[in-house]
């Protein structure tokens, strides 16, 4: 057990609020009767994750989360949904009977993830921010990591993405 003085109260209160919101929104994603509502709930989950990253002093990751997931992925997602099946109101086809199968799978996944995380990081603590802006993991360090030791995987990933983009274009164009 940790002592009460070790807990940064404001941070934990913040985490509680964010976590609660994320759980409610997460339930919303699967329970919503309308695709757009589900997608918007997912946005809330993503935003919560970003907020959690901020709590963890990982601002860069938080901002990336917002830029990539909220700004790009979810917008494209909504864009697609609204273009194709955009009716307002309840949609009968959203939920189906596979929920019975899905629930245990989800629980199992949750269990495994929780176990792995606890096993791996249970006692680690993130160093508190020190005074004026100095972060445990600043942006420069991340870029150093990407462009020095992990340069080759980064490039490989880029090429895979490029191939995927070109492939998508080839598939989409019929002529």
């Amino acid at each position: 057990m940790v002592l009460a003085s070790d807990i940064q109260v404001a941070q934990n209160v913040g985490f509680a609020i964010i976590a609660l919101t994320m759980i409610i929104a997460g339930v919303g994603v699967i329970a919503a009767r309308n695709v757009v509502h589900a997608a918007l709930s997912l946005v809330v989950v993503m935003a919560g994750a970003a907020a959690n990253y901020v709590l963890l002093s990982a601002e860069f990751v938080a901002v990336t989360q917002v830029l990539v997931y909220i700004g790009a992925v979810m917008v494209l997602f909504l864009f697609g949904v609204m273009l194709t099946r955009a009716q307002v109101g309840k949609d009968a086809e959203v939920n189906n009977k596979n929920a019975v199968v899905a629930a245990p799978v989800a629980l199992l996944l949750f269990g495994v993830l929780a176990y792995v995380l606890l096993k791996g990081f249970s006692d680690d603590k993130i160093a508190a921010t020190t005074g004026n802006g100095a972060k445990p993991q600043d942006t420069a360090a991340i870029s150093d990591l990407i462009f020095k030791p992990y340069l080759l995987p980064f490039w490989a990933l880029s090429f895979v993405l490029l191939a995927a983009v070109i492939g998508a274009i080839v598939l989409a164009r019929k002529d």
Partner: protein
């Protein structure tokens, strides 16, 4: 240092108040000075003249009018999302202003990845616009919302790429440090002007301003609104204070983007440091800059938003395929070229 002496809650209160002022003040000034008066003079008329001297109270009259109006929602609309959408757009504006530095200590937050953050939160407004367009249950709104999303995604890219040039030249993503860099640097050894990046990054500046024009959906990029065609697009069904929120968000965002552009390209809150013999490396900037800085910033903002509005009132609008073509075939290649050039020169010098 003012901020240090205050308790945390007072600092927070100051920041919230400051943020509200930094959003509403530019919105109000832009609307009155440019939308009411400059536009009227360009169109050989006087604009509002009744409320207050030279119609200066017109803005409050307008706000009062909108607040009185009934908050309507179409019958077929998805009411919850419909009501939420304008707020999402406005939240994006508030998040955006949080990162703008107004003086050596007059800032809301001092992010390490400020530029990155700015680009990230500006994309949230797209979400609000999509929500508004879809939930109105109106075909015009839906078309407008989809156009807006397509356009904002397309112009986000040149904007990012234009800013990259500045980031490369400054060597930091921290907006505060970008300001300091511009004011303490020198141009080939001459430091009379500092080194505002508008000189070296002129292509980036031009692309950034064009992209801002598109992000704000101002003419010539106002296809999503297109009042003569889509009847104001995603805003068609809104009335009363929800329309007011869209309206404030539109002009406040214009102000905030002008602020960011002046931070990135015009030297932000600073004056060339050499004029006062400052050396920012040791933090020698005087405290009074915390008061003078915001005024300098507002001045630069007014100039830039003046240009935005000027273009808005004089140009017809693009069709959206032309608009996409312009983004993908002109702006993005040019900005990539700009980055390459900047990187080469950065390494060379």
């Amino acid at each position: 240092m003012l901020a240090v002496d205050l308790p945390y809650w007072a600092q927070s209160l100051l920041r919230v108040l400051g943020g509200t002022v930094a959003v509403l003040l530019p919105a109000g000034t832009i609307v009155y000075l440019f939308l009411f008066k400059m536009m009227s003079f360009m169109q050989s008329r006087l604009g509002p003249m009744e409320a207050g001297p030279y119609g200066s109270m017109q803005l409050f009259a307008e706000v009062g009018k909108w607040l009185q109006k009934e908050d309507l929602a179409p019958d077929g609309a998805d009411k919850r999302i419909y009501r939420m959408a304008p707020l999402v757009v406005l939240v994006s504006t508030f998040l955006l202003v949080a990162v703008v530095p107004f003086g050596p200590d007059a800032y809301f937050t001092n992010f390490d990845a400020g530029v990155f953050y700015m680009l990230a939160v500006s994309s949230i407004s797209t979400l609000g616009i999509l929500m508004a367009g879809w939930s109105s249950a109106n075909k015009y709104s839906l078309l407008g919302g989809l156009r807006a999303a397509g356009q904002l995604i397309a112009y986000e890219l040149p904007m990012v790429l234009a800013v990259l040039g500045v980031v490369i030249q400054a060597g930091t993503m921290n907006l505060q440090q970008i300001v300091v860099k511009q004011n303490s640097d020198s141009i080939f050894g001459w430091d009379g002007l500092g080194n505002p990046y508008i000189l070296t990054q002129f292509i980036g500046f031009a692309i950034f301003m064009i992209a801002v024009q598109a992000e704000l959906t101002q003419t010539p990029f106002d296809m999503p609104i297109a009042e003569s065609e889509l009847v104001s697009g995603y805003m068609t069904e809104y009335s009363g204070f929800r329309f007011l929120i869209f309206f404030i968000a539109e002009f406040a965002t214009a102000g905030v983007f002008s602020l960011i552009a002046s931070v990135l390209f015009l030297g932000g809150w600073g004056v060339p440091f050499s004029w006062f013999g400052w050396d920012a490396a040791t933090g020698s900037v005087d405290n009074w800059m915390n008061v003078a800085g915001p005024i300098i910033m507002i001045t630069k903002m007014m100039v830039l938003s003046g240009i935005i509005m000027w273009v808005r009132f004089s140009y017809p609008r693009f069709r959206e395929d032309q608009l996409q073509r312009f983004a993908w075939k002109v702006l993005i290649p040019v900005s990539l070229l700009n980055i390459m050039l900047t990187a080469i020169l950065k390494v060379a010098f």
